[in-house]
Amino acid sequence: MRIDSTHGKWLIASVVILVAATAIYIPYAASSPLGPSGASGLGLAFGIAGFACMIFAGLLGARKKVPVWRIGRAQAWMRGHLWLGFLSLPLILFHGGFRFGGPLTSILMILLILVVASGVLGAVLQHYMPKVITAEVPLETIFEQIDRVRSQLLAEADEFIAGASALGNPLATAGARAAVATEELTAITEADVAPLRSFYSRQMRPFLEKPDARRQALADAAKARTIFDNLRTLLPPALHGIVEDLQEICEEERQLRKQARLHHWLHGWLMLHIPLSLALLLLGAAHAYMALRY
């Protein structure tokens, strides 16, 4: 989501509402002998308006559950969520007269600030991160498919190594040799393949198998390039094609890792934003009920 000129109308409406609310609040606060209060008529009105904005913002989640319902385009709901959600903060501050009040209202105010802050963080991330992912992960796949793609890469790499090992094994079946053999490859011995097998079992396979492990040299593109360049010097030219393929597999694995990392950035803030929002709405409803009843 990009916050661009298409948000212009929402921005103007929000600014107009904020200016109007401020214009109402300043004389109201100045004229109140005990200072502005949430219990006053205007204070209550600010509270209701602010809570209404919060509820509308919170309904985005429900809206997403019924995507086919023709109740307004999802992007309109999203823009409403952003701008009205943001607007709820000044309205609630006007409601409380910039005071946090008792324990419940203090919690509510902290929650609101956290929700709005996490929302702003989310908006910023969602503004920039898609562009970063698009540029840096050209081999992007569906996030949920990453593990599957990874296992395919591992199987593919295993096949390359098995093929190369078969070349160096005089007992290997003619079929296995023919699967990868060209004229040049037929002269490969077991000793020629040994450095490749050793590299694969010690470095590359663990790299593909354990994406969460730290300090893996192959996870760094520059280091990986050096490692593969060194490996090439240990192998006969006929095996360089396989090295090339393995290098590409490592590059794809690095991109998968980067995609997973960026994806967590892109959506991780929701882990904070959604529970806090739910708590805010529930406690806000409790606060409203108690305030109106007592």
């Binding site: 990009r2 997403k64 019924v66 086919v68 023709r70 999802a74 999203m78 992912i133 796949t141 569906i142």
Partner: protein, 723 residues
């Protein structure tokens, strides 16, 4: 001359007497003196073209014995060194223009030329071989033609003309370009050849050989009875079919017995045979189209009814629909949509498309009574369809039983009266075309109107930059009306994509029809206007100069392209969930595909201008509406051909629950899981595709690629819009 009126002569020192007019070759043969030959056969008129039978008759030059009549006192030498040398030189020259070993030599080792060469001790001719290969003609389903192996002996031509009197084969070209030709210059499969096989048995080399088609014989099992060529020729439908051909294709037609209730073939299955009903009745049906493949159906239950108010749906009606709808199948009858069951009886042929073009079976056929059928492979069906008696029987059956439903199944002709169809019955013709054959050419005079009965027709239009595909037509479609309605000339070229059978209605009958039924004229004219407009749009599109990569990705082919702006998309998958939600939990969109600049083109139907997916559907379930959406109708039999044909992988098969006959309890139905093809229907029941509507980030767009990428293809958006 002897007292008995015989002519006396000497051959290789032996005195012989033969009747006047006898050729030297025959005189020698009747006296057990063998003279080698290639172009001569006893049952054909001698022509003396190969000259291999040359003999020394004491004249200035050697004479071809097969054409030289005997003369009184003639002294003939057939095997002197000089004669042998001349003969060997001829064989060597022929061998230099003959692939060694040829197909016949490879398969049976009896190529007459190669045998002669071997006897003469010629392994490698001294003369240089032809450097360019002449083509092979494999268009006939039963006979392969290798022009390289042809020695121009003319035996096939005489076999075709003198023995069979078919007059299909002849000679074309001069000198080094001379060759045999079918109907002057047609591929054998497109010619009027009846595949009698006479040319093949006449040929001394591997130039004309028998082709094995999809296996040369049908597997025998307990229900199958082998039929000999003699037995087949006793059957009325095989009357006139060459016994030579049947002998060469022994096992390619068998007799099958089915008990009442036996399934003869099932919809969606692949096969390679056609069935001709000799006795008994069969019921043809397709699974009741209960499982709707389209966007989810009516609301069920209180909550659904309540929420359906929030999801306004337009009625999903096809604008071209009529009260009577037919499902076109690979049989002489069409099935009514409401009750997709019909009966077939003696004399009916079904499975032609499966047999000729290897399409999946379009319907399930079950024996209604104990049945006897002839099951045949493609080579036999092909020769049957060329057989006049068989064609006449099929034509009669079509006119009597299927013309009515076929015509009325075409929405614009739904209003024709019984009386008018009755009057057409004796005028329509069934005409066949082989793959690649041109039915009519752009610019030709308009003379006929065509209805497609079997197969697929490609409609193309020539333009300065090349040829453009306008449409693919299948059973139930028609063409030729634009020319007849006033243009006088064909506006497009129509070509048979596979084995096509058309119902041909003459221009006079067509004009009589549109004059008698002004409504039909009006409907045809409005459809014509739409088609012409679409063609104009496409032409102007082709004239623009799009980017290579844009073309390479096939984006120009799309009419409605789903694009995800990757710089806006947060990968939240709201589009995928919306698609699944709109289609009973089955998404028709996968958020993965090729990238074009900052856009992702996800796996979702592009509504191509050239919808290859439509080619081959055995029941015509995938089709285009009068607007641009490609829809898959409810009666899809789940064969998966459209999914295979889609170059972009945008059609998938999904399991649905349908009601089908319960084999354990005849007459009852039970729920079974059946696969059906699904593709994006643009959420036609809504104003906007759900994936676009549900995207919270303004990243999903359904666009006309010409307009959207106008800057890239060298047009302004307004130009693109106009085009």
């Amino acid at each position: 001359m002897s007292a008995a009126g015989l002519i006396e002569l000497t051959i290789d020192g032996k005195k012989v007497a033969v009747p006047p007019g006898t050729t030297v070759f025959d005189a020698a043969r009747t006296n057990d003196i063998a003279i080698p030959t290639l172009c001569h056969q006893q049952n054909e008129t001698p022509v003396g073209v190969c000259r291999v039978c040359v003999v020394d008759v004491g004249a200035r030059v050697f004479a071809a014995s097969c054409v030289r009549p005997v003369e009184s006192g003639m002294v003939v030498t057939t095997s002197s060194e000089k004669v042998k040398q001349a003969r060997n030189t001829l064989v060597e020259l022929l061998m230099a223009d003959h692939p060694t070993p040829c197909a016949r030599q490879q398969s049976s080792g009896d190529c007459e030329l190669e045998t002669l060469a071997r006897q003469a001790g010629i392994s490698q001719p001294r003369y240089s071989r032809r450097t360019t290969s002449r083509v092979k003609d494999i268009s006939s389903p039963s006979i392969a033609v290798d022009f390289d192996a042809c020695i121009l002996c003319d035996r096939c031509i005489r076999g075709c003309s003198e023995i069979r009197e078919n007059f299909v084969l002849g000679r074309m070209g001069k000198g080094a370009n001379a060759g045999i030709a079918f109907d002057n210059s047609l591929p054998m499969g497109n010619s009027s050849c009846v595949s009698c096989g006479e040319c093949m048995v006449s040929c001394p080399t591997g130039a004309l050989t028998n082709k094995g088609v999809t296996g040369t014989a049908i597997d025998l099992d307990p229900h199958v009875e082998a039929v000999t060529p003699d037995e087949l020729q006793q059957l009325p439908v095989f009357k006139g079919v060459s016994g030579t051909f049947l002998s060469l294709n022994r096992g390619a037609v068998v007799r099958r017995h089915f008990k009442r209730g036996d399934v003869i073939c099932r919809e969606g299955e692949y096969g390679s045979t056609a069935f001709y009903i000799v006795e008994g009745k069969a019921r043809v049906s397709i699974s009741t189209p209960i499982a709707h493949v389209k966007t989810q159906g009516g609301a069920r239950g209180f909550f659904s009814k309540l929420t359906s108010q929030l999801v306004p749906r337009k009625a999903d009606e096809r604008e071209e629909d009529t009260d009577q709808r037919y499902i076109h199948i690979d049989a002489p009858v069409d099935l009514s949509y409401d009750n997709p069951i019909a009966e077939l009886g003696p004399g009916d042929l079904f499975g032609e498309m499966t047999c000729m073009s290897l399409y999946p079976r379009s319907a399930t056929v079950r024996a209604e009574t104990d049945c006897t059928m002839l099951e045949m492979l493609r080579n036999v069906l092909d020769i049957m369809q060329r057989n006049k008696n068989f064609r006449a029987a099929l034509d009669k059956s079509y006119r009597q039983r299927a013309l009515d439903s076929h015509l009325r199944g075409v929405p614009v002709f739904a209003g024709l009266t019984d009386e008018f169809i009755g009057s057409l019955r004796d005028h329509v013709e069934l005409v066949r075309y082989t793959p690649g054959q041109i039915i009519c050419r752009q610019g030709d005079a308009s003379d006929y109107f065509y209805l497609v009965r079997i197969g697929f027709v490609k409609v193309t239009q020539a333009h300065p930059g090349g040829e453009m595909v306008l449409a693919y037509l299948s059973r139930g479609d028609y063409f030729g009306e634009i020319g007849l309605l006033g243009n006088d000339v064909r506006t497009a070229t129509c070509t048979a994509l596979d084995h096509v059978e058309l119902v041909r209605i003459s221009g006079d009958d067509f004009n009589r029809m549109v004059n008698q039924f002004p409504d039909i004229r009006k409907k045809l004219e409005s459809v014509e206007e739409v088609h012409l407009q679409q063609n104009r749009e496409r032409l102007s599109l082709v004239e623009s100069q799009p980017l290579d990569s844009f073309l390479a990705q096939g984006l120009m082919e799309a009419q409605s392209l789903l694009l995800l702006d990757l710089e806006r998309c947060t990968r939240c998958d709201a589009c995928v969930r919306a698609c699944a939600d709109a289609h009973n939990g089955i998404t028709r969109l996968v958020r993965e595909g090729l990238r074009f600049e900052k856009y992702l083109v996800p796996t979702s139907c592009r509504q191509c201008k050239d919808p290859l997916c439509m080619v081959g559907c055995p029941v015509g379930a995938i089709r285009r509406r009068n607007s641009l959406e490609v829809v898959i109708e409810d009666w899809c039999v789940g064969c998966g051909l459209c999914a295979e044909n889609c170059p972009y992988g945008n059609i998938n098969l999904h399991p649905f629950e349908v009601m089908a006959d319960d084999p354990e309890h005849p007459g009852r139905k039970k729920a079974v899981v059946k696969k059906k093809a699904t593709s994006c229907d643009l959420c036609a029941e809504h104003e906007e595709p759900s994936c676009v509507y549900a995207c919270p980030h303004d990243a999903a767009h359904r666009v006309d690629p010409r307009e959207f990428f106008a800057g890239l293809v060298g047009q302004s958006p307004s130009q693109a819009r106009k085009s």
